[in-house]
């Protein structure tokens, strides 16, 4: 079980109206493509900014979705290809050098925890996971083991509403608009806002693209952010108890929410 002490969220896109009343939730413009910091990392930094002092000694647990499109970083190398392919004649000796050096850093999926650590001087243990919101429920018991020694800062982030990610999302879910951003949840031994615990099933409110009932039925596609959105919804609506199902194409996982 983890006790929620504080939270912040930075969202870009069609954020669910029910959570906008939640103090600590901000809606911002999508950051433009950058050569230095991924959009997901920018969101994460913005979300953690006001929690950083309390999180200085925290263990950092992240679930990172898409970092934001990196395709533009390969366009220059592909432009002069004689056969239209990126890896065609002349790639190894000449064209490969036109890939911007920062392309590696932007494509590394641990950019979110790395950027948070660098920006806020976080030096505690870190666990960087990717691409599975359903893992959130399974990470709760592991994170709870940190609590006797230090707080836990959970950061969910995603910048999936761009270029190929959007095309893929349309194919998979039919959703033409997505929600991206970051949600930072600070848990500590004396957190008083509510508790979460891994659950094994039962009657639950579904979070995820296939949700067909409230609260998430009309939420935009928001891969990797769903567990945090569920918690924000419970906070904003004053929900005393709930079980959430995080439903992904491959599986479901469950966590419970209790408000004191």
């Amino acid at each position: 079980m983890l006790k929620l002490a504080d939270y912040r969220a930075v969202l870009a896109g069609a954020a669910p109206a029910q959570i906008l009343d939640c103090p600590g939730v901000r809606v911002i413009e999508k950051p433009p493509a950058s050569h230095a910091v991924s959009a997901a990392a920018e969101y994460a930094i913005a979300a953690v900014e006001e929690l950083a002092e309390r999180a200085a000694e925290a263990a950092l647990y992240t679930i990172s979705g898409s970092p934001g499109s990196c395709l533009h970083l390969f366009d220059a190398a592909r432009k002069d290809s004689p056969d239209g392919r990126l890896v065609g004649p002349g790639f190894g000796r000449r064209r490969s050098r036109r890939i911007h050096p920062f392309a590696l850093l932007l494509s590394l999926r641990n950019q979110v925890p790395a950027s948070l650590s660098l920006h806020f001087h976080l030096r505690g243990p870190s666990l960087s996971t990717i691409d599975s919101a359903a893992a959130f429920a399974d990470l709760i018991p592991a994170a709870a083991l940190e609590i006797p020694d230090r707080p836990v800062l959970f950061v969910l982030s995603s910048a999936s509403d761009r270029a190929e990610e959007r095309s893929r999302n349309i194919l998979q879910t039919g959703a033409s608009q997505g929600l991206e951003g970051a949600i930072a949840l600070l848990f500590s031994g004396d957190g008083e806002l509510g508790t979460i615990a891994r659950a094994t099933g039962g009657e639950a409110m579904v979070l995820g693209a296939s949700a067909s009932s409230p609260p998430a039925a009309d939420w935009p596609f928001s891969p990797c952010l769903e567990p945090g959105l569920g918690i924000l919804w419970a906070l904003s609506q004053g929900v005393p108890q709930a079980t959430f199902e995080i439903r992904e194409p491959g599986r479901s996982s469950y966590f419970s929410w209790n408000m004191p």
Binding site: L108, N110, S126
Partner: protein, 385 residues
């Protein structure tokens, strides 16, 4: 921060190494480094001997090579039918694989063309490996760059400690040994550009960067004792440097903290170093072990398997766990190949060129990744109590 864990049995391990090297090969000192053919920006690498096999039922047209390597590493792991396995998959981004990039660069705005690349996307890689291995318990995909494999092992340990799983499979794989992956690392000057099969030279004065490898490994951790364990995970530690993204830090205190948490006061009889053969890493790692062990650092055998496998990125640290357990079991330290001219700043007892007899129970295996992730493991072949 430092308290010895209850040793957790590692019941079985497997390796899918470049050049089809075995654990025994790596303890004895065989190299997989070879010349690369094709549109590569560098001359040498350590590739798989053969492409990882594509399962017949793979559901999409394009299959990520890294994912297939993970499947193969997991498939080789000897395990029982029956347990409700958890799974931690250490598998870094697949989105720089040429097959993905070629397709998406051409069709990026066409949803109808996205079906082919769904094998690279979202939770599919994790769920596919889980389905192949029959892992229906808790699962997650870890990516902390070159520390992914050891971080995955630590999460598995945490799950067992928390009581949400009795048996957890840990699978790590990385395959960026393709023209794009090579270009990405070459463009930040991390790779050796020498046309020389001895180019992977950890701790040698002439080292000029790492040689890219690809690989996979798997472990089965269990709180039960259904068979004789291969070894034990006796301690772990993690930290972040918070200093630089790619370069090693000046301040080693965070790296020290991770290692001290893993060691909990133990002085190991062997160190399987991160040992990338970049000028910065090897110097920094040498300083680290001196800070940790003082004068005793000079009498602890240290080796870098990357002299044989190249740097297998996110798979490397789990591969090193597998080989370290083999080394402890045989009481033989693997060699650091190509170490003919030791760097004066790397003046520890690096096991150069030939394997050497070991004496002792514990080994430290460490990983230091881009982004500043530090991960350290204390391993033993025999039950340490």
């Amino acid at each position: 921060m430092s308290s010895r864990l209850k040793p957790l049995p590692i019941l079985a391990t497997s390796l899918f190494a470049p050049g089809e090297l075995t654990k025994e090969d790596l303890v004895r000192g065989r190299s997989a480094v070879t010349r690369l053919e094709g549109e590569f920006a560098v001359a040498v690498g350590a590739p798989f001997a053969a492409d990882p096999p594509r399962p017949r039922n793979f559901p999409y047209a394009l299959a990520p090579r890294g994912l297939l390597a993970a499947v193969e590493a997991g498939r080789r792991l000897e395990r029982e039918e029956g347990p409700s396995y958890g799974l931690v998959l250490a598998l870094s981004s697949l989105h720089s694989e040429p097959a993905y990039l070629e397709h998406v660069l051409q069709h990026r705005c066409d949803p109808q063309q996205m079906e082919e690349i769904l094998g690279f996307a979202g939770d599919f890689p994790l769920e596919y490996v889980a389905s192949v291995l029959g892992a229906h318990g808790p699962r997650a995909r870890v990516d902390s760059a070159c520390a992914s494999g050891s971080d995955a092992l630590i999460l598995a340990h945490r799950w067992i400690e928390a009581g949400i799983a009795e048996d957890v499979l840990v699978v790590a794989a990385a395959s960026m040994l393709d023209p794009v992956g090579i270009a990405l690392f070459n463009n930040i000057h991390a790779l050796s550009t020498e046309d020389d099969l001895t180019a992977s030279r950890p701790f040698d004065r002439r080292r000029k960067g790492f040689v890219m490898g690809e690989g996979g490994a798997a472990c089965w951790l269990s709180s039960r004792r259904p068979r004789q364990p291969t070894g034990y995970l006796c301690g772990h530690g993690r930290s972040m440097n918070a200093e630089k993204f790619t370069d090693m830090p000046e301040d080693l205190s965070a790296m020290e903290a991770a290692c001290r948490a893993a060691l909990a006061g133990t002085v190991p009889s062997y160190i399987c170093a991160h040992g990338t053969a970049t000028p910065g890493n090897d110097r920094c790692e040498t300083r680290l072990y001196k800070n940790l062990f003082g004068e005793r650092a000079h009498s602890i055998p240290v080796s870098s398997l990357k002299s044989m496998t190249g740097h297998c990125l996110g798979a490397s640290s789990l591969m090193e766990v597998v080989v370290t357990l083999e080394a402890l079991g045989r009481q033989q330290a693997p060699p650091t190949l190509n170490l003919h001219e030791p760097d004066p700043e790397c003046d520890l007892d690096y096991v150069a060129l030939e394997p050497r007899a070991l004496s002792g129970d514990f080994a430290l295996s460490s990983a230091f990744a881009f982004g500043g992730h530090n991960s350290a493991l204390l391993l033993s072949a025999d039950h340490p109590c």
